[in-house]
């Protein structure tokens, strides 16, 4: 068995004294692990940092085997992000989340493309926390747990959708009389999650993280006895301190 693909490094664990087991998120083969011989050497260590894009060739005798990767650098950007505290924490959080949430060896091209855009955005724009919220919402959708933000679950209207039901993940028009009894129990829906045209105001990113975090925990992580990575919590603290939520 062998294939070649582009991948983003998600995690690296030492194996023996000179090798590592690398987890990549690949475009065509999903989250895939493999052994990299000599991965702890001086040449490979800078390449095998979370967030870097690599060209990977995987080879194994049988499909079920762990297999071995031959890795070549493609776009090394982790080093450039390390000076930015929020971006480092963000990189930490998204790579860990992808490892925890995505099943192994299952193609998720949209998640890969989103992650690629998000990491590129970390170096290019201050708005990347909003991109991260969108990526998390996309992750939910790609895993089959997408939020239904098209129409109100109570009235069926498509307008003035301001909240999301924490149980069903469906949008709710918070101003509707039918919602009056529940509105304080609903999660806030930031406008930027509904369409690309919506701008960002203070509190939107925090509301977005609360929304995606709630459903990631409830639908994806808790059933597998997992929790949101601590790095995501620390990222939110940092963004709050910097006034970027």
């Amino acid at each position: 068995m062998n294939w070649s693909d582009i991948g983003i490094v998600l995690a690296v664990r030492p194996f023996g004294e000179t090798s590592v087991i690398v987890e990549l998120l690949t475009a065509e083969h999903g989250r895939h692990a493999g052994l990299v011989r000599g991965g702890r050497g001086r040449a490979m260590r800078p390449v095998l940092q979370p967030g870097n894009r690599v060209k990977a060739a995987w080879r194994a005798r049988l499909e079920d085997h762990l297999g071995a990767f031959t890795i070549e650098p493609d776009l090394l950007r982790a080093g450039a992000l390390m000076d930015d505290a929020a971006a480092t924490e963000g990189l930490h959080a998204i790579c860990a989340l992808a490892c925890l949430a995505l099943p192994e060896r299952e193609k998720h091209a949209a998640v890969f493309d989103g992650l690629e855009a998000l990491i590129a955005g970390m170096a290019a724009t201050d708005l990347w926390p909003a991109l991260m919220v969108k990526w998390e919402a996309g992750l939910l959708t790609d895993l089959g747990y997408g939020l239904d933000l098209d129409r109100c679950a109570l009235t069926g209207t498509r307008d003035a959708l301001t909240h999301v039901s924490p149980k069903s993940g469906r949008a709710v028009a918070g101003g509707a009389p039918e919602a009056a009894d529940y509105v304080d129990k609903l999660l806030k829906l930031p406008p930027f999650l509904q369409g690309a045209q919506a701008g960002l105001v203070e509190g939107d990113v925090a509301a977005g993280f609360a929304l995606t975090g709630h459903f990631l925990e409830r639908w994806i992580l808790w059933p597998a006895d997992r929790q949101l990575p601590g790095a995501r919590e620390r990222l939110l603290e940092r963004l709050k301190t910097e006034g970027r939520l």
Binding site: L75, G79, G230
Partner: protein
């Protein structure tokens, strides 16, 4: 192997094979060498191991390993108590000491934050570091963690936590290593080297 050697020899080989750099085959060679040189090597080694296991303590001040608590570095009168160099592991302390480039004191963190391995701030020796940074004599804390994403995340986290201590916080530089050729350096290292250039 158990057919040709008794359980004591087998146990010795199994334990030796757990050491870094030794597999089962090289562990057998080491065991054989030890057995052949029983008086000059095996007995003194066993004696040294027993003594070390009994005497080695973790320094309550910095987390270093030594036979005294506080350790030799923390009690050395010639060392600058105002400088604290934070490292991930004892191996990093030894590496810096080999370089003879630092005359202050150290603080061993015991790891770095890792989302996947579940290493959180409470798992690291951070509370003691903050206490030391708040002492009157401390002037500067140098963060000398590995230049990895985990190491950088930990450095940023520590910078935040140490802000209120009123000490200078610095990080070791990243850039071109001695003997390094630009052509072979990765993009991140080159970018960091250019960013931290200095007038010459």
């Amino acid at each position: 192997m158990s057919d040709v050697a008794g359980p004591e020899i087998q146990r010795l080989i199994e334990l030796l094979a757990k050491l870094p750099g030794l597999g089962p085959r090289s562990a057998r060679r080491v065991a054989l060498q030890l057995i052949k040189k029983r008086d000059v090597l095996m007995t003194p080694l066993a004696d040294a191991l027993t003594r070390a296991a009994e005497a080695i303590k973790t320094c309550s001040e910095c987390g270093n390993l030594d036979v005294n608590d506080p350790c030799k570095i923390c009690t050395a009168p010639g060392r600058d108590a105002g400088l604290i160099c934070v490292v991930e592991d004892v191996g990093d302390l030894w590496a810096l000491e080999r370089a003879h480039a630092f005359s202050g004191r150290y603080h061993i963190l015991g790891g770095v934050l890792s989302a996947l391995d579940g290493v959180r701030p409470d798992d690291l020796n951070i509370a003691k570091l903050i206490e030391r940074a708040n002492r009157e004599e401390t002037r500067e804390v140098i963060l000398a963690l590995n230049a990895t994403v985990d190491g950088a995340a930990t450095s940023h986290f520590l910078s935040d936590r140490l802000k209120d201590a009123g000490v200078e916080i610095s990080s070791i530089a990243r850039g071109v290593p001695v003997g390094g050729e630009l052509d072979y350096l990765d993009d991140g290292t080159l970018a960091a080297a250019l960013k931290s250039r200095r007038p010459s």
